[in-house]
């Protein structure tokens, strides 16, 4: 028994050194060497200032920007320090209320647009930090953004296309538009 306990503790200590210290250090070392940008958060730097991460969405509600998914993080949306989904059940009235709120905002920002709203624009993402929307959601907002910025739709559409990621290998995943990158590109125009 004593021998078993001793072995348990020794082995745990060795595994801690190996898998808890050496392993992550080794991975970090290699990662920084080979993929320095990705390993440190895919930060977008503009004029020497970090303005966001390509992978973390930001809150937009100005008509001149493309809007992203709803975010349920607290106390404010797209709080990078506390990722979470809404966890609203399918029959929860708050779920419909949130969607209705977003629908109302979208309709108010562009009263002339009567097309159906893509579902990803009225639902909260799982992480609350989703950087993407669907191409359909971008298309829905395209005219509004162009109007607000006083440029023609085609120019915006070209930018959207630039920031659209197709399915990998044509099969895997969904086509998405990176909202933050697109909005930064719009600002840079």
């Amino acid at each position: 028994m004593v021998a078993l306990i001793r072995t348990s503790l020794m082995l745990l200590l060795l595994f801690m050194i190996l898998t808890g210290v050496l392993y992550p250090i080794a991975v970090t070392g290699i990662a920084h060497g080979v993929f320095p940008q990705q390993a440190t958060g895919s930060i977008i730097v503009k004029n020497g200032k970090a303005v966001g991460s390509r992978l973390i969405g930001q809150q937009f509600d100005d008509p001149k920007y493309f809007w992203g998914r709803l975010s349920a993080t607290s106390p404010y949306p797209y709080n990078g320090a506390a990722s979470t989904g809404s966890n609203l059940g399918p029959t929860n009235p708050n779920l419909t209320a949130a969607a209705e709120g977003r629908i109302k905002a979208l309709r108010e920002a562009e009263p002339g647009n009567t097309s159906k709203i893509p579902v990803d624009l009225v639902t909260a993402s799982g992480s609350g930090l989703d950087p993407h929307i669907s191409p359909a959601a971008a298309e829905y907002q395209l005219h509004r953004v162009a109007m607000a910025r006083g440029i023609d739709d085609a120019a915006v559409r070209a930018l959207v296309a630039q920031h659209t990621q197709e399915k990998r290998l044509g099969i895997i995943g969904e086509p998405v538009v990176n909202v933050l990158a697109l909005n930064i590109a719009l600002d840079e125009r």
Binding site: M1, M16, A39, G126, G173
Partner: protein, 600 residues
């Protein structure tokens, strides 16, 4: 469902099977102590481990000693992990200066990780220091998985050996599982994940400038830091502005690799694999969801190899795959259906080339419906428990399928090792029923299944089943339990049912709306996880010991073949009956009631 949905699922299973075969063969070599190709590099490390710990690798253990070693090693892990969390405030590698974890949460998290459950009561980026993540959670991610694999290998030895008192050496099985299987795979995987954008760094969180300033309602706090409430009890808010965003970082990739491979599932970040820094792209998602089932699937092949009849392994793998594919398709179909209420608001829920459609609440745009449903069913089939979408927001039936997969006892792929040993217990029960039906004392792979085995098998099923039912009853009957419920109506019941199902079956996923970080849930779920793991391991090892002692019965025409489609069908039947049948009344009050009510 679109054609692309089937194509993605097909691709997933194809790649899984293609990889499972060689990995399974490799693992069989590792456990049989034969040369595996990595011996030259890792052999010296292995021998060094044995020398330092005073382990004689040739010493064989009886099942009781083996079980004792499993328990002691887990106890050591628990103690260490608990202390590490409590003391993290005084320890290094804590750039965010997190304080020590409160006792109930530390207990829950420690049990959660030594049992390979990885239930997340904690929020990674808000509670745990880098040191706790790496040297605490990260280590248990490896060794709790390796423990499960070791117990499985001991059971396989029980089947293959005859007239033997011993079932192997736990220290050796544990060490070899970690060194030869988990570490090499994790190394490769973590680098693949970093390439996709998963972070891996020791520097602190990064603050960035927002493109658009946010104005929001900030809860007003009094001097003591607690929220101020108005006379009606609602929190008082004030307008506030936010110009910056915090980008959480950390050594995530190395931990995510093993949390996926070792069916752990405890996220580096709170949102788990839905978090863009934990699972940034469709490709990283494919790799991660592949990792969930990779070792459990490959272990079936290992099993076939070790018992000397590869068909036996394929039979179990087929049974698992059939159940999973069925539920995966059903879940996708259910989620793709979307919400009837949204349709009435003029929301477009159709799936096409430009949008995923369906029920997108709690799902990420880059994963859409299909990859969320694949993940949700794979992670609950295996006792992984990581999520890339929020199960709580699934449609009633879409959420029922993951729940069902958990309640089946985590034998459809299941945890690494634990899934297959659970499956073997199911096979033993099936063989017993089928054997009686053909008029013979049942035997499985040449071992007679008798009283003792049935007693232990019944115990395995009974304990987990009872934990879920009694736990849920406790949850719905106590004020502390009901207080955690986030959603009204039958959905709230499902949240509690899901929590106890997940904990007792060591899955770890959640209907996350449930506020589980309370003394009640931390304690109750912690106990459920503990019993659900070790009170299953002990009977399983007892079966291993009892089978090892028996003589090998040679097969004859009167022997029931256990690799045929008929047996696979029966096995699935038994799994459904044991797992699903007794939960039907509970579903009626949860997801089924919600579904029929919503459909009205």
């Amino acid at each position: 469902m679109t054609g692309n949905a089937y194509l993605q699922m097909g691709l997933y299973f194809c790649v899984l099977m293609l990889l499972a075969k060689p990995l399974g063969v490799y693992m069989a070599r590792v456990y049989e102590g034969r040369s595996s190709g990595l011996n030259r590099a890792l052999g010296p490390v292995e021998r060094l481990f044995y020398r330092i710990c005073g382990i004689n690798p040739d010493e064989e253990m009886s099942w009781k000693k083996y079980a004792g070693a499993v328990l002691l090693f887990s106890a050591a892990g628990f103690l260490f992990l608990y202390l590490l969390q409590r003391l993290q405030g005084m320890l290094p590698l804590n750039p965010q200066k997190f304080a020590g974890v409160p006792p109930d949460l530390a207990f829950n998290t420690a049990v959660s990780f030594i049992t390979n459950t990885n239930w997340q009561s904690y929020g990674g980026e808000t509670t745990l220091s880098y040191l706790t993540q790496m040297a605490g959670l990260g280590v248990q991610n490896f060794v709790s998985a390796a423990s499960g694999m070791a117990v499985l290998v001991a059971l396989i030895r029980g089947i293959t050996r005859h007239s033997s008192e011993t079932i192997g050496n736990y220290w050796v099985d544990l060490t070899r599982s970690t060194l030869y299987i988990l570490i090499p795979l994790s190394l490769v995987y973590s680098l693949l994940l970093v390439s996709q954008g998963v972070v891996q760094t020791f520097s602190g969180y990064k603050t960035v400038q927002l493109a658009q300033t946010i104005t929001y309602d900030k809860p007003k706090l009094d001097d003591k830091g607690s929220p101020v409430k108005d006379e009606k009890g609602n929190p008082v808010t004030e307008k506030a502005e936010m110009k910056e965003q915090v980008i959480p970082l950390g050594p995530a990739a190395s931990q995510i690799a093993i949390k996926q491979l070792g069916t752990n599932g405890g996220g580096f970040f709170n949102a788990n694999a839905a978090h863009p820094l934990e699972n940034p792209t469709a490709l990283s998602n494919f790799l991660e969801v592949l990792a969930i089932l990779l070792i459990p699937a490959a272990l079936c092949i290992t099993f076939g190899r070790m018992v000397g009849d590869i068909r036996q392994g394929w039979a179990l793998l087929s049974a698992m795959t059939i159940v999973l594919v069925t539920l995966m398709v059903l879940c996708t179909w259910s989620e793709q259906g979307g919400s009837p209420r949204f349709a009435s608001f003029g929301v477009d829920q159709s799936a096409n080339d430009l949008q995923p459609g369906g029920n997108m609440e709690g799902k990420e745009a880059r994963f859409g419906i299909v990859n969320s449903a694949i993940w949700a069913t794979a992670t609950t089939a295996a006792s992984n428990g990581s999520v890339n979408s929020m199960h709580d927001s699934y449609s009633p039936l879409g959420g029922l399928y993951p729940l069902l997969l958990i309640q089946l006892g985590e034998v459809i792929f299941g945890g690494v090792g634990s899934g297959l040993y659970g499956m073997l217990v199911m096979a033993i029960i099936t063989v017993f029923l089928a054997g009686l039906m053909v008029g013979r004392t049942p035997e499985y792979l040449g071992k007679k299944i008798e009283m003792f085995e049935m007693k232990m098998a019944a115990l395995v099923i009974l304990i987990v089943n009872a934990l879920v039912k009694v736990g849920t009853a406790l949850g719905v009957a106590t004020a502390a339990g009901v207080a955690g419920v986030a959603n009204p109506g039958p959905h709230g019941f499902t949240e509690i049912l899901y929590a106890f199902s997940s904990a007792a079956n060591n899955n770890g996923s959640a209907f996350a709306g449930l506020s589980a970080n309370t003394v009640f849930y931390n304690t109750a779920l912690g106990i459920a996880m503990f019993i659900g793991r070790f009170w299953v391991i002990i009977p399983v090892l007892a079966i291993a010991g009892s089978l090892a002692k028996k003589k090998q019965v040679p097969a004859s025409l009167g022997t029931l073949p256990t690799h045929t489609p008929l047996f696979i069908a029966l096995l699935i039947g038994v799994i459904l009956i044991v797992g699903a049948l007794s939960f039907l009344p509970a579903w009626a009050l949860g997801p089924l009631a919600e579904q029929v009510t919503a459909a009205r």
